[in-house]
Amino acid sequence: MQFALLIYESREAFASRKGEGSNSYTGAWRAYHKALVESGVFVGGDPLELPETGTTIRIKEGKRGVQDGPYADTKEQLGGFTILELPSVDAALEWAARCPAASYGAVEVRPLAPETKRRIVE
C-alpha cells in the first residue's frame, strides 16, 4: 500500500529552512530521508516552496478568480509531501511520528487511492 505523508509547517519552520547542512532543520530532514530510503519504504516526495509563493485559482460562475498564496490562511501550511510504500497504516503512522515535522508542525497520513486512479487512467 502507498501512503502520502502531508507535511504541515509553521511560519517559523519555513524560516529555518534556509540554514546550511549543519542546522538542525536540514540535519533532521536529511537523516529522516536517509532512514526512509535505507529502510526501503521511500517512493517519492518533495518539499514545496514557501506558501506565499503559491497562487490559488478558482473558476466561479465562469469567472476566473486568482488569489495570492494558499487556499486557506492557517497557522500551519502544506510544506511538502512524501509517498511511502508500507504494509499497513500502523507502519505509516510510525514513520509519520518519526518525521521531524511531527514535533514542530503536523503530519497527515493519507492512503493513496489506486482504485480511483485506475478508473481515471483507464
Partner: protein
C-alpha cells in the same frame, strides 16, 4: 454552598472511579465474560452518581452504591433481552430487593482473572495492553489511541472486537493452572511493561494533564503484586520500572535537552523510588527463580549504584546482559549488551556484537543505530559514524534525542 457540595460529590465519583474501576468491571464481567456490558453498566452508574450524590450526599460506601446500581442496569439489560432466568448468571439472580450492602462490600477481587483475560493467548498480543488500560484502569479509547499511535476510531474498533472475542470465544475468566502459569504470567507482565515503555517515550513531550502511562503501568504492577505476592518476576518488573521512574527528573536538563543515563546527576534521582526498587529486587532474589525482568532490574540497579560509588560497574552489567540474552534474546538486549561490552572491553568488541545481530531486524530499530554511531565515532571511523548517526536521527521520534544526536554527529 451547593457548589461545594457538588464539588465534593464530583471528587468522590472521580476517586471511586479511579480506585475501584477495575475491581468493579472484573466483578461484573467475571461470569458473563461481557466486558463491554460491564463497562457500560458501570459508566451508567457513574453518571447516575454524578446527579444523585450532590443531591443525596455521598453514600457511606460509594463502591457498593456503584456496584448495586451497575448491577441493576445489567439485570434490566438481561430482562430486556428476554434471557430465560435459568441462563442468568448466578450473580444476577439476586434480585434488586435482596441485594444487601454487607454483601456488596465484601465482593471478591477478580482483577487477577481480568488481567489474565486481557493477556490471553487467543487475543492479539498488540491488544493486551490497550485492553488492560481500558478494563482495569478505565482509560478511554481516545487516550489509549494517542499513546499507541493509532486513530481513536481504529482503537475503539479493535478494543470492541477483542471484547467480543472474549465474550463469544470461550475465553474463561480464571487464573491459569500451575503448569501454564509462567507463560501466561509472562504475557501479563509484558503487557504492563509495554504500557510503561510507551509512557516513558511519551513523557519526552510536554507534561500532560493527569497521570502518564508510565505511572499507570506502575499502578498495574502494584495491583498485580498485591494479588500475586509470591511471584519473583512481578517484583522484578516493579523494581525495573521504579528504577527508571526514579530518574525522571534527571533525564532532561534545565533547557529540556536530553541527558544520557551515564551523564545524569545522581542527586536528581529519587532515592525513595530507588530504595523501593532495591527492596523488591532483594525480595525477588529470595525465591531463587531468576527471570527476564529481574535481570533487567539488576542492570538498572548497577546504574543506580553510581549514586554511592561514583562509578559504573560495566563488567557486572555485561554479565547480567549475557544471562538476559540467554533466557530472553531480543534485539534490545543484544544492543544493550553491545553498549555495555564496549564500555567494559572496548569499542571494537562492542561493534563486533552489533555486527552479529540479525541484520533484517535492524533497519528501523533506532537504539541499534545510536549505539553503532557512538562506537564508530569512538573508533575514529567518521564517515561511517556520520551515516549511522543519520539513521539514528532519522528514526528518532523524540525531538530532544534527535537534537542530542545531531550535536554528537557534528
Amino acid at each position: 454552598m451547593s457548589g461545594s457540595k457538588d464539588e465534593k460529590a464530583h471528587r468522590a465519583v472521580e476517586r471511586v472511579a479511579r480506585e475501584s474501576y477495575g475491581r468493579l468491571v472484573a466483578y461484573l464481567s467475571v461470569h458473563t465474560r461481557d466486558l463491554a456490558g460491564a463497562e457500560d453498566a458501570l459508566s451508567e452508574a457513574l453518571l447516575k452518581a454524578l446527579t444523585a450524590w450532590p443531591r443525596e450526599g455521598v453514600p457511606q460506601n460509594p463502591e457498593a452504591w456503584l456496584l448495586t446500581t451497575a448491577r441493576h442496569s445489567l439485570i434490566d439489560l438481561f430482562r430486556h433481552q428476554r434471557v430465560v432466568s435459568d441462563k442468568e448468571p448466578d450473580f444476577l439472580l439476586l434480585t434488586r430487593d435482596s441485594v444487601e450492602t454487607s454483601l456488596e462490600t465484601n465482593y471478591p477481587d477478580e482483577r487477577l482473572k481480568l488481567l489474565f483475560v486481557c493477556a490471553h493467548p487467543a487475543i492479539d498480543p498488540a491488544m493486551h495492553t490497550p485492553l488492560m488500560l481500558q478494563t482495569v484502569l478505565g482509560l478511554n479509547a481516545e487516550r489509549i489511541a494517542g499513546s499507541f499511535l493509532v486513530s481513536p476510531k481504529t482503537m475503539g474498533q479493535r478494543l470492541s472486537r477483542a471484547k467480543t472475542k472474549i465474550r463469544d470465544g470461550g475465553i474463561r475468566f480464571e487464573v491459569p493452572e500451575q503448569n501454564q502459569l509462567p507463560q501466561r504470567l509472562d504475557a501479563v507482565l509484558e503487557a504492563i511493561y509495554a504500557a510503561f515503555g510507551i509512557g516513558w517515550d511519551d513523557m519526552a513531550g510536554a507534561e500532560q494533564p493527569g497521570r502518564g502511562l508510565a505511572e499507570e503501568a506502575i499502578w498495574l504492577a502494584r495491583v498485580l503484586l498485591q494479588l500475586m505476592p509470591g511471584e519473583a518476576e512481578v517484583r522484578g518488573l516493579l523494581a525495573l520500572m521504579l528504577h527508571c521512574e526514579a530518574r525522571r527528573a534527571a533525564r532532561r536538563d534545565r533547557h529540556g535537552r536530553y541527558v544520557p543515563l551515564s551523564e545524569q546527576d545522581p542527586k536528581l534521582w529519587s532515592l525513595t523510588l530507588v530504595e523501593e526498587a532495591e527492596r523488591h529486587l532483594a525480595e525477588a532474589a529470595k525465591y531463587g527463580r531468576l527471570g527476564r525482568f529481574q535481570l533487567e532490574a539488576a542492570i538498572q540497579s548497577v546504574h543506580a549504584e553510581r549514586a554511592r560509588s561514583g562509578r559504573i560497574e560495566w563488567t557486572a552489567i555485561t554479565r547480567f546482559y549475557e544471562q538476559l540474552n540467554h533466557i530472553s534474546p531480543t534485539i534490545g538486549g543484544r544492543t544493550g549488551y553491545a553498549a555495555a561490552i564496549a564500555e567494559a572491553s572496548g569499542a571494537e568488541r562492542g561493534l563486533a556484537v552489533l555486527d552479529a545481530i540479525d541484520q533484517d531486524a535492524v533497519p528501523d530499530y533506532q537504539p541499534y543505530w545510536a549505539v553503532r554511531a557512538h562506537l564508530l565515532q569512538r573508533l575514529g571511523r567518521s564517515p561511517e559514524a556520520s551515516d549511522a548517526y543519520d539513521r539514528a536521527i532519522g528514526l528518532a521520534e523524540d525531538p530532544a534525542i534527535r537534537e542530542f544526536l545531531l550535536q554528537r554527529r557534528g
